[in-house]
């Protein structure tokens, strides 16, 4: 019996189908999925949004919405869960199968203490007494490296940081020592350094608790860190499963290949590589559809693909649904661009004309004195014409505030913004129409930045009328069509409204609006973080093309170092409203000189599983921004802290080259020695 338990998979899914009934149609969310998860095995599931990843997990634990129905087999430890009554399922959910979801804040009840919510779990499932449940809760929290576990269970969810909240959610899942833990994008809402710590812990706990994992994410890099095997889902079907190395090194399905090659990653930069894109977007699947789900977007399709579908083992342990596209050919690598001759800067304009934007000691505070949040705390910066500055940092570091201040939505509390020779440290109301035209913003969420009441013609035409003074409707229309074509939207989009567009199309329309009046400086505030990987690539490509063509400068704000690395010429790393490090891309990424940059680089999840980096585990969370910090803002979490000097004196500016500097107490000579592993990796991976 014991032997049998060992060899038996913890979870076996056979031909699982899930359908949703809507008023007009039946939608297939999961189609014919068969998967196995062995004891202590971690299965990663990747795919874009709308591919049925979450639905699959809901189907496993019988947690579908009312209009969902399922068929097939879900065998958990030898028992078919589909035959269990809702009452019987209660003894599985949260007990033997535990779940952790994306947003910890909405998973925890804000009006109950953390202790109470943790105790509830074991009291219900294991019939523990409250005191015993409390002990178990503290013990589990300690397993998750929560220092002051006894103190934390007295607190309410809002009193701890997002990363801590997610740890509490994981603790909750672990309390009953489940056989299977399902994690649905548990780190997507978290900062990258926090994410790295949590992924680390998850891996450790898998061993310790002897459990199996299903880890869902849209990010291959994240899945790589925890999963042994990876399943790629597309439109409700598993199109490929294999070990994580094989998925990256030898993908067999066109979708997997396309997905991997459209992700910006270590060593992929705009100068040498053009990102692959997948035309179109993920659509719903109706019940009538058969055959390969990827056909409409596949560039390797052949006649007959529409009717074929077979999930077969192509290599040992490597299953794929596509048996045609790569019968013979060798795996391909992303398109490489030939390196162009580097232009000599001497021919450029004189230095004083080279700069387009200069920030001089910009401060921006929010809130009343005494409780003021120092969003931007003294930032100096110069931006050259025709260059892209990437601003990277975790949430709350002030990167968006910088963007909004330059863009005119906010006025700096003090400091000067010089744009093209004129002082524009005022809000939009006091700026000249010329300045308003020259600085444009692209926002994160195109669904919110395009007015849903207007057609694209009105949305793009309005700035032309207002700031270029083109009053003739005919003339405007002609220009709008031109710009729409540039962003790969045809004339037929002229009279569409935002809600009739997909997320990627909306963002391209937003880019069209910004470029319709030929700006000189474009501020992109996380323009691709709300988009799927395949769509993100097309928007990034578009931004690169338009930048080259127009010669405009960008301030590109993102939390994603891979995206920043791909798109920027210069990189600025921010922490708590201050600059940590600034320099040319290869300098910052190649030889980071600030411990925070180093930590960020080490935390970035890699698409390529062969990249092994030294993990730097940053403990704690950024300090309260309302408290004035005397020394270095990063001192409290720094893994290379020099001593008390870090807490008491602001770090000095250290120059490493004409363009590269950082603010740190570590002696420059020492930094040179410690040129860090993460950077090495980024460099050696360059193609």
């Amino acid at each position: 019996m014991k032997n049998k338990q060992k060899t038996m998979p913890v979870l076996e899914i056979n031909n699982l189908n899930v359908e949703y009934k809507t008023l007009t149609d039946r939608i297939v969310a999961v189609k014919d999925i068969s998967l196995k998860v062995g004891r202590k095995e971690a299965l990663g599931i990747i795919g874009e949004s709308g591919c049925g990843k979450s639905t699959l997990t809901y189907a496993i634990v019988d947690y579908l919405p009312k209009n969902g129905s399922r068929s097939g087999e879900v065998i958990f430890m030898g028992e078919n869960l589909l035959e269990k009554s809702p009452k019987e399922m209660e003894s599985y959910r949260g007990n033997r199968i535990a779940m952790v979801y994306q947003n910890p804040y909405s998973s925890l009840n804000p009006s109950l203490t953390i202790g109470f919510q943790l105790e509830e779990v074991t009291m219900f499932h294991q019939k523990f007494s409250r005191s015993k449940a409390r002990e178990a809760a503290i013990e589990t929290l300690t397993d998750l490296y929560m220092g002051d576990a006894a103190g934390i269970i007295e607190r309410y969810p809002h009193q701890i940081s997002g990363g801590m909240q997610q740890r509490v959610c994981i603790a909750m899942a672990l309390l009953c020592k489940p056989d299977l833990m399902i994690l649905d994008e548990p780190t997507t809402a978290l900062d990258v350094t926090t994410e790295a710590v949590i992924l680390d812990i998850i891996g450790e706990l898998k061993e310790k608790y002897n459990m199996s994992l299903i880890y869902i994410s849209h990010d291959i890099g994240v899945v790589n860190k925890v999963a042994d095997r990876i399943a790629v889902m597309y439109r409700g079907e598993v199109v490929e499963t294999s070990s994580q190395e094989a998925i990256f090194n030898d993908p067999l399905h066109p979708y997997t290949r396309a997905l991997i090659s459209c992700m910006p990653r270590a060593g992929v930069v705009k100068e040498t590589v053009r990102l692959n894109t997948i035309p179109g977007y993920v659509t719903r699947r109706s019940a009538a559809e058969t055959g390969c789900p990827f056909v409409p977007r596949c560039d390797k399709k052949r006649p007959g693909c529409e009717d074929r579908y077979g999930f077969t083992e192509r290599k040992s342990g490597h299953f794929t649904a596509c048996d045609r596209a790569y019968a013979e050919d060798v795996p391909e690598r992303p398109v490489q661009i030939k390196k162009k001759e580097v232009k000599l800067p001497d021919n450029g304009p004189a230095p004083e004309h080279r700069t387009i934007l200069q920030l001089d000691k910009i401060y921006r505070y929010f809130g009343p004195p005494g409780k003021r949040i120092r969003a931007v705390d003294g930032v100096d910066l110069t931006l050259d014409r025709n260059s892209v500055l990437g601003v990277v940092g975790e949430s709350g570091c002030g990167k968006s505030t910088i963007g909004n201040t330059v863009g005119g939505l906010l006025r700096p509390t003090s400091g000067k913004i010089i744009f093209d020779g004129t002082d524009i440290s005022v809000s939009w109301r006091k700026r000249s129409p010329e300045t308003l035209r020259e600085i444009q913003l692209i926002f994160q969420n195109p669904g919110r930045s395009l007015n849903p009441s207007f057609t694209l013609e009105a949305i793009i035409g309005r700035p032309m009328k207002k700031l270029l003074g083109i009053n003739s409707g005919e003339e405007r229309k002609k220009r709008i069509v031109d710009i729409l074509k540039k962003v790969d939207l045809g004339e037929e989009y002229l009279y569409r409204r935002p809600r009739q567009l997909s997320g990627g199309e909306m963002q391209r329309a937003a880019v069209a609006r910004a470029f319709s009046i030929s700006p000189n400086l474009l501020i992109c505030d996380e323009p691709t973080s709300a988009l799927d990987a395949s769509v993100q690539a097309s928007v990034l490509n578009l931004l690169v093309d338009l930048q080259k063509e127009s010669g405009a400068s960008y301030i590109f704000i993102s939390h994603d170092l891979n995206v920043i690395n791909y798109l920027s010429d210069m990189i600025m790393v921010m922490y708590l409203g201050r600059i940590c490090e600034y320099g040319e891309k290869h300098e910052v990424v190649g030889s980071p000189c600030h411990p925070y940059t180093e930590a960020l680089l080490s935390a970035v999840p890699d698409v390529d599983p062969s990249i092994k980096k030294e993990a730097i585990r940053l403990e704690g969370s950024p300090p309260d921004p309302t408290i004035k910090i005397k020394g270095c803002p990063f001192a409290g979490r720094c893994h290379r802290k020099v001593g008390t000097v870090c807490d008491t004196t602001p770090p000095p500016k250290v120059d490493f080259s004409e363009t590269h500097f950082s603010y740190c107490h570590i002696k420059p000579a020492k930094i040179e020695k410690k040129v860090m592993q993460a950077g090495e990796v980024m460099r050696t991976q360059e193609i």
Partner: protein, 276 residues
């Protein structure tokens, strides 16, 4: 619009509501030319005649006036005033609520406090006091006063709707292209608040009818001889035992109109607000 009709088809309550409302609108328009009797004519032979007696379909009151003609004529004034009131109070409410919400800060505080003071007085009492001072009520004065009484409520709804929309980045996009406040408020934001605003207008419509009927009942509504549903109820209060139809039919008219509008208004709110 198509979706609107499709949804309407599926909602029998909304169809009933809309039909009754349209019926009353039709009566108000065409009714007076179809009734044979004047609403002031006193039929001395048939005082307090029961429905059907002497050709009086719904009977007569103590003075021998035809109840049906009075209801038909009364529907005109009540519908006109209610419609105007809901429109005026919505427009005023949108302007005040938008201004307060858009500029925020001190402007918001001042506007809100004024609205709070107005809201602290029950609308009916407020209207009564003003009408009592003015004396002779006309359609115009009633419209203005009921509109004022309802403006604070609509202003709050409009302010809330604006605040939900104003956090969208298309507002920021409009700002940094140098649009005027007026443009941002009424061209960029207003179309996106149409849902809650329409719901408010229809709901206000029903409230207005009740208010006007109540004012009539309290004797400060339209003055005789103009027929007014609320007034008809109070006039005939003393003969309610001997001639109940004189009170019953005007009351039923008020009830049917208010319920019809409410049913339709519920439907609007379901379609406009919960659509997505």
């Amino acid at each position: 619009m198509n979706i609107f009709l499709l949804q309407l088809k599926k909602s029998p309550r909304a169809i009933i509501g809309l039909s009754v409302l349209l019926l009353w609108v039709f009566i108000a328009f065409a009714g007076p030319s179809m009734t044979t009797r004047s609403y002031t004519h006193m039929d001395m032979e048939y005082q307090m005649a029961a429905p059907g007696e002497g050709g009086h379909t719904l009977g007569t009151d103590a003075l021998g006036r035809d109840v049906l003609s009075r209801i038909v004529y009364g529907s005109r004034s009540i519908l006109t005033i209610a419609l105007m009131t809901s429109l005026f109070s919505s427009i005023a409410g949108i302007i005040i609520g938008f201004t307060a919400g858009y500029f925020g800060g001190l402007v918001d505080t001042i506007f809100l406090r004024i609205m709070d003071i107005l809201m602290a007085i029950p609308p009916l009492v407020l209207a009564m006091v003003i009408l009592g001072i003015l004396g002779n009520s006309t359609i115009l004065s009633l419209t203005i006063i009921v509109s004022i009484a309802y403006t604070p409520a609509t202003a709050r709804v409009a302010r809330g709707a604006l605040l939900t929309c104003a956090s969208n980045e298309y507002v920021d996009a409009a700002r940094i292209r140098g649009e005027s406040h007026f443009y941002i408020m009424f061209i960029e934001i207003l179309p996106n608040t149409i849902g809650p605003v329409l719901v408010e207008i229809t709901a206000r419509f029903a409230y207005s009818i009740m208010m006007i009927a109540s004012l009539g009942f309290l004797g400060v509504g339209l003055q005789p001889p103009t027929p007014d549903w609320g007034m008809m109820v109070i006039e005939n209060k003393s003969i309610i035992r001997t001639a109940p139809w004189t009170v019953l039919y005007p009351s039923l008219s008020i009830a049917s109109l208010v319920i019809a509008i409410s049913l339709f208004s519920d439907f609007i709110s379901k379609v406009m607000i919960h659509e997505e």
